[in-house]
C-alpha cells in the first residue's frame, strides 16, 4: 500500500514535470504572449519593456529553468493577463467547474444506474432496447450542439431556465458554491445536464453490461438458491459487484468531465476553470495554462489514487501493493 502510494506519487511528479516542459515549449512555439496582450497603440519601447517584464526576452531553456526554480519554491508565476498568481486564479475558478462536474456526475449516476440496471435485467424488453438505443444517441451527439439546443428550447423558447452564467454563490468550506439557492440550481441545471449526457450514456451502458455479466455468475445463482428476494439479489449482490468497474470508470471520467467542461462552460458562460483555460490559451497566458494543467493532472492523479483505494474497498480481492503495472 505504502509502496503503491509512493510509486504513484513518483509517477505523478514525473508526469507533472513532463507536462510543464511540454506546455512550456508549446506555448513558446505558438507565439509571443506580448504580441497578443499588448495594445495595438504600443510602441516598440513598450513592447520591449513588456517582453522583459514577462521574462520573454530570454531563451526558452533559461525561461524554463527559471520557471522550474520558482515552481520548486511553490510559485508557478503570475498570470500575464490577470496579474495575480496563476495557481490562485485556477483555484478561484475550480470550484465552479467542480460543482458543475459533480452535479453532472450525480445526474449521470442517478439516472444512468437505474436505467442500466433495468436494461440489464430485461435486455429483451422494449424498454431495455429503447434505453440502449437512447444511450447510443447520448454517445453520438456532440456536446456543444446539445448545449445549444438546450438553450434554444429551455431558455429561449420556453423561458424556464437562464441561458448562461452562474447563480448566486455562497461559501462553504472556502468554496464558492451555488448549490444553496433555487436561483443557483436554475443556472446549474442546463449546463450540468449538457455535461452529463455523455457520461449518462456511458454509465447506462456500463451498468447494463455489468448487470448482464453478473447475472450469469454463480454467486448470483447461489444467492437465489439461498432464497433471497430478487430485490436483495439485485440490490446487494449484483449492484455491489458492478459498482467496482463503474466506480473506476466514473472516477476516471470525472477527470475527463472536468476537462470537457471547457466546452460546456464556453457555451453556457459558466465561470469555471475550463473557460479560463480556453481563454488563457487564446491569450497565451502561459502561467495560467501551465498552472491549470498541472493542477488538473495533479487532480487526475489524486483521483486515480482514490479510485484505486476505493477499488480495494469495494473489491476486497484487490491488493494495492502488487499493482505492478
Amino acid at each position: 500500500m505504502l509502496a503503491f502510494v509512493i510509486r504513484r506519487l513518483g509517477q505523478s511528479l514525473l508526469v507533472l514535470f513532463a507536462m510543464s516542459l511540454l506546455v512550456f515549449a508549446s506555448v513558446y512555439l505558438i507565439g509571443n504572449p506580448a504580441d497578443i496582450l499588448i495594445s495595438m497603440d504600443a510602441d516598440q519601447a513598450e513592447r520591449t519593456r513588456l517582453a522583459h517584464a514577462m521574462g520573454l526576452d530570454r531563451s526558452l531553456p533559461l525561461q524554463y529553468a527559471h520557471f522550474l526554480w520558482r515552481a520548486l519554491q511553490g510559485d508557478l508565476g503570475q498570470s500575464f493577463v490577470h496579474g495575480v498568481p496563476a495557481v490562485a486564479l485556477v483555484f478561484e475558478r475550480l470550484p465552479a467547474t467542480l460543482e458543475l462536474a459533480a452535479v453532472a456526475m450525480a445526474i449521470a449516476m442517478g439516472i444512468g444506474l437505474p436505467l442500466g440496471l433495468w436494461a440489464g435485467l430485461k435486455p429483451e424488453s422494449f424498454a431495455g432496447k429503447a434505453i440502449m438505443t437512447g444511450s447510443i444517441l447520448g454517445f453520438s451527439l456532440p456536446t456543444f450542439w446539445v448545449g445549444l439546443m438546450l438553450i434554444m428550447v429551455f431558455s429561449v423558447q420556453l423561458g424556464w431556465l437562464p441561458a448562461g452564467g452562474r447563480g448566486p454563490t455562497q461559501e462553504l468550506l472556502g468554496l464558492q458554491l451555488s448549490l444553496f439557492s433555487l436561483e443557483g440550481w436554475k443556472h446549474l441545471l442546463l449546463p450540468a445536464l449538457n455535461l452529463a449526457l455523455f457520461k449518462l450514456a456511458l454509465v447506462t451502458r456500463l451498468t447494463r453490461a455489468g448487470t448482464r455479466e453478473a447475472l450469469t455468475q454463480d454467486y448470483v445463482k447461489f444467492a437465489r438458491a439461498k432464497g433471497l428476494s430478487p430485490a436483495r439479489v439485485v440490490g446487494v449482490h449484483v449492484l455491489k459487484n458492478i459498482m467496482v468497474p463503474i466506480v473506476t470508470v466514473v472516477a476516471l471520467e470525472f477527470g475527463a468531465l472536468v476537462a470537457f467542461a471547457a466546452v460546456t462552460e464556453t457555451i453556457f458562460a459558466w465561470p469555471g476553470a475550463g473557460k479560463l483555460i480556453i481563454e488563457s490559451i487564446g491569450l497565451l497566458d502561459r502561467p495560467v495554462v501551465v498552472a491549470y494543467l498541472l493542477v488538473v493532472v495533479a487532480m487526475f492523479t489524486l483521483l486515480n489514487l482514490l479510485v484505486d483505494i476505493a477499488y480495494s474497498a469495494l473489491d476486497p480481492r484487490v491488493r494495492l501493493g502488487d499493482a505492478g503495472a
Binding site: Q11, S12, L14, V15, A18, M19, L22, V23, S26, L29, I30, M132, T133, I136, L137, F139, S140, L141, P142, T143, F144, W145, L148, M152, V156, G255, A256, V258, A259, F260, A262, V263, T266, I277, I278, I281, V289, L293, V296, V297, F300, T301, N304, A325
Partner: protein, 320 residues
C-alpha cells in the same frame, strides 16, 4: 471379462481408432468470417446500421461525383447565394440548392458530402494510425516485458492522465489547424488507449497454452507475436476502435467548435455544425441542422455496428 466388453477392449488395439463422425459434420464448414457474418446478421438494427454506414461511406467516397458543386473551390462559390434556404435557386446559373447554402454560398448538400468525406477520413485515418501505433507498442510492451514495458506504460500513464481534449487543443494550437494536424492530434490523444488495451489483452493471451505450444514448437519470436498473439489481441481493440472512429469524429467537431479544427475552406461536418450554429438563433437552421443530422446518422451507424461487433467478437460469447 464379458464378451461384450471384449469387442470394446480388444477392438481398440487394432489401429482402427474409430474415427468419430461427429454431429459437427452435418453443419457446413464455417469459416470465422462466415460465422461472424451470420452472427452479425442476427440483429436487425445492426444490419440497418451497417447498411447505413455503407451508404454513408459510399456517399463520402463518391462525393466528387455526386456533388453538384466543388465546395472547396472558391471560384465556384458566389457570395450572392449566401444563406439561401433549402430549395432556393441560385441568383445567376439558376441551379437548385436542395438543402440551402451556407454563409459563403456553398451548396449545403455538396458541402455535406465533402464534409462527410473529411470527417470520416479524419476519424478513420486517426483511428487506424492510433490503432497501429498503439497496438504495436502495447504488444511490444507485453511481449518484451521488463524495462521496455515499464517505460512504455509510464508514457501511457502520462498520456492518459492528460485530458484528451486539452491535449488536442494545445497540440493543434502549436501545429496550426489543418486536416493532417487534427488527425495527428487525434492519434496523439488515442494511441495510449490501444497500447494499454492491447497490452492487457496480450498479457492474458500470452499466458494461454497455445502460445506456450508455439514456443515449444521452436517458432521464432516475431512469428509468435504477429501470427499468434496479435490476431488474438485485436478483437477487443477493434471494437474499441470502431467506437473511437465515432469519438474521433465528435472530437474533431468539438475542436472545430473551439475554432481550431479543419480549415474553414474545407469544412468537415463538425465545422459546418459549429459555424452553422451561429445562424440557429436567426432561424437559418439548415446550416447547422442538416450537417448535424448527417453527423448524427454517421456516428449512430458506427456505434450500431461497433455495438454488434462487440457482441459478436466478445470472446465469452464466441466460444459457444
Amino acid at each position: 471379462m464379458s464378451t461384450q466388453f471384449a469387442t470394446l477392449g480388444e477392438g481398440a488395439e487394432v489401429p482402427a481408432l474409430p474415427v468419430p463422425k461427429p454431429a459437427a459434420d452435418a453443419a457446413p464448414v464455417e469459416s470465422p468470417l462466415r460465422l461472424f457474418l451470420r452472427q452479425y446478421a442476427e440483429s436487425k438494427i445492426a444490419l440497418i446500421g451497417a447498411a447505413l454506414l455503407l451508404l454513408l461511406a459510399l456517399a463520402a467516397l463518391l462525393a466528387p461525383v455526386l456533388a453538384s458543386q466543388n465546395p472547396y473551390d472558391l471560384a465556384q462559390l458566389d457570395i450572392l447565394d449566401a444563406r439561401l434556404p433549402p430549395g432556393s435557386h441560385a441568383a445567376e446559373a439558376g441551379r437548385l440548392y436542395l438543402l440551402g447554402t451556407d454563409e459563403q454560398g456553398r451548396d449545403m448538400l455538396s458541402a455535406m458530402l465533402y464534409g462527410l468525406r473529411i470527417s470520416l477520413a479524419i476519424g478513420i485515418v486517426a483511428t487506424v494510425a492510433a490503432l497501429s501505433l498503439g497496438s504495436t507498442l502495447g504488444l511490444l510492451a507485453a511481449y518484451a516485458g521488463g524495462r521496455l514495458d515499464a517505460f512504455l506504460m509510464r508514457v501511457v500513464d502520462i498520456q492518459l492522465s492528460f485530458p484528451a481534449i486539452l491535449l488536442a487543443l494545445v497540440l493543434i494550437t502549436v501545429l496550426q489547424p489543418g486536416v493532417g494536424n487534427v488527425a495527428l492530434a487525434l492519434v496523439a490523444v488515442q494511441w495510449a488507449y490501444y497500447a494499454r488495451t492491447v497490452r492487457a489483452a496480450a498479457l492474458v493471451e500470452r499466458k494461454k497454452e497455445y502460445i506456450e505450444a508455439a514456443q515449444g514448437l521452436g517458432l521464432s519470436g516475431a512469428r509468435i507475436v504477429f501470427r499468434h498473439l496479435l490476431p488474438n489481441c485485436l478483437p477487443p481493440v477493434i471494437v474499441v476502435a470502431a467506437l473511437q472512429v465515432a469519438n474521433a469524429i465528435a472530437l474533431e467537431a468539438t475542436l472545430s467548435f473551439l475554432g481550431i479544427g479543419v480549415p474553414i475552406t474545407e469544412p468537415s461536418l463538425g465545422l459546418m455544425i459549429a459555424n452553422g450554429q451561429q445562424s440557429l438563433l436567426a432561424g437559418q437552421y439548415w446550416m447547422s441542422v442538416y450537417p448535424g443530422l448527417l453527423l448524427l446518422a454517421t456516428i449512430l451507424a458506427i456505434n450500431l455496428v461497433a455495438d454488434q461487433l462487440r457482441d459478436v467478437l466478445n470472446p465469452r460469447l464466441s466460444r459457444q
